[in-house]
Symmetry: none
Subunit: 335 residues, 2 copies
DNA sequence: TTTGTCTGGACAAAAGTGGGACAACATTGC
DNA sequence: GCAATGTTGTCCCACTTTTGTCCAGACAAA
């Protein structure tokens, strides 16, 4: 039974080119070579033409060293360490980081509680009050009520959207606790998700892949879009948040989607966004339009223009574009 | 489970001209020919006049190779690979790319493994098939149907749990793409979330805070617990995934919860877990029991014992503990 | 006739290699 | 506080290997 030894061991077979190592570790090719030259951080095997060939073990080492550096360690110190020592160092550092948290604060409601919600601002305020008082039942009730008063698209644009913004802003300012935000987000996830099933399904709807790119962990924007487009006779293929470009492309192909929509909110300047969008655009059939929305889209105007993506300025704009696309599709099919 | 292998087989009938292949894969015509000449990447059949005729299989190969190249692989390395090997390589790469935050949702409850009757195994297989073919409507239908046949607690334990495990495993093995897993996870999030609203609400239920600790991003285990306990007359205060210890404590205090339940699955050895659990236990009223479950709980036995946490070995065990707690509470209140 | 594909080869761009330079920054010694 | 020294990421060069594009002339398809 060699299991105990072998389980945790990492493959030391050399097979990965330097470019792949750079992709996986987030280091640059130059840097990997420089580290090797100076400190022998890793000593990769070579191909018969002197190309470096790295093992999984090497990659893990580099990854850990990078994290150690981010935690403030010096390269000279960590370079000669064994994998185990590196793991220890890294986990010790992150343990320390986790310890510094924000202090608890006294809770005091900062919104009044408008019982009769006349206009949308009142509706949002009432919901914020319910969130702050952790009154889940009331929150659900308000969400349901609002939906009765307005059609879904208007409701999403005038109530849910502003509500999300207020929640984010209030949490940032400390008016809401993270716990409140979490509870509200979880409820909204359930609520908006359930909306999609209200529409009947005929099987002939055009499909649209909806998700967020790698690094974007907030899914509510995308989920709102899924709910919205299902009203207009699209069938959303909803993938949740954080989907790699390759997977989005493959999904669009397999499902035969006619469009792709991405939502980006936070972090707005994630360096992976340009790469991912470019990759997706290049892998996707040119006839399939890509829509990008969300607050972070504004930070990538140039890229969006260069890649020829569509970036509607509002949910309504998105609806209109999709309606046109759908109708154009119908004409094509019948012609 | 031969189904999963067979349905993914690809047509090898040669019929596509090179131009179409170029359009579909995003490669140029010249490049496809060059790859063939130099590395025999694909060896298409020929028409009677020597025109190349590609099969769907060839196209898939070329598509995968293109993606592998974008991931940093060298053409020489990937050219001789089989389709399966290519799939492995590509899915491995996109999993470990600098993205590296989204390893397959491997939900392996430490607390279940009943003998799986053929009935439920069939149900799971049917769902897996729907997922693989991206038949969302069918998947929803199957989820709903299953719920009619069994009571919710049994359904969660015998169908949903095993399904999650199979999805995780299949994705790891490359039988499912990450996109499939994402779609399935998103649907399950919606489905399980909606279950909580089936129960009527009297306002007198004891509350239980349910979430996952910092670093644990997979929420389905926690959400299942929320659905489960609402059947037994608890009101879940559900916070979604990744909640810091301080926030959980504050939430328990504000809502007046009688218990806290945490789900931990991946990563099992996150160094933040001990810190967070210790912190939470110390901030929480000693009279409030903490339940921890999920596959990662097994990695922290010693800690769980030291802190005096409860770690039921099955969903049923959790139910029983909570029922006792609830009834004890009633006696206390009426006394 | 016009357009597209085929073969084989030529050529050029991209990417990798070893070596070194250099600026920004941190640390040390005084 | 300041200068000297050490650390580290980035860039440049000359050269090799790998990979993408282009061309010419023959033939096939529309």
């Amino acid at each position: 039974m060699a299991t105990l030894e072998t389980i945790s061991s990492i493959d030391t077979a050399p097979r990965h080119p330097i470019r792949l190592v750079a992709n996986r570790t987030g280091l640059t090719v130059d840097l990997i070579r420089a580290w090797e030259k100076r400190y022998h951080v890793v000593e990769p095997a070579r191909s018969d033409t002197k190309r470096r060939l790295y093992s999984d073990y090497d990659i893990e080492r580099l990854r850990l060293i990078r994290i150690a550096k981010q935690n403030g360690r010096r390269l000279v110190d960590v370079a000669p360490m064994s994998l185990e020592a590196l793991r220890d160092v890294v986990s010790e550092d992150s343990r320390f980081d986790a310890a510094q948290d924000n202090p608890a604060e006294v809770y005091r409601p900062s919104w009044s509680n408008p019982l009769e919600s006349t206009d949308t601002q009142d509706a949002v305020d009432a919901m914020l009050f319910a969130i702050q008082t952790m009154d889940q039942h009331r929150f659900d009730q308000l969400l349901q009520e609002g939906l009765v008063k307005q059609a879904l698209p208007a409701y999403l644009e005038t109530v849910i959207g502003p509500l999300l913004r207020e929640i984010g802003e209030s949490t940032r300012l400390g008016k809401l606790r993270i716990a409140h935000e979490h509870m509200a987000t979880a409820h909204l996830r359930t609520f908006i998700g359930a909306l999609r099933f209200r529409e009947t399904f005929t099987g002939s709807e055009p499909k649209i892949v909806i998700t967020t790119p790698t690094g974007q962990l907030h899914e509510l924007g995308a989920l709102m879009i899924a709910a919205l487009v299902s009203v207009d006779g699209w069938l959303p293929v909803y993938l949740g948040p954080n989907t790699p470009a390759d997977e989005i492309a493959a999904c669009a192909m397999q499902s035969g989607a006619r469009a792709v929509s991405l939502s980006m909110t936070y972090p707005a300047d994630d360096p992976r966004i340009p790469t991912e969008l470019t990759r997706l655009r290049s892998q996707l059939d040119q006839k399939i339009p890509m829509f990008v929305g969300g607050s972070a889209a504004a930070h990538h105007q140039e890229l969006i223009g260069r890649l020829g993506l569509q970036s509607p300025s509002s949910l309504n704009g998105l609806r209109q574009s999709l309606n046109e696309l759908r109708d154009r599709g119908f004409r094509l099919q019948s012609a």
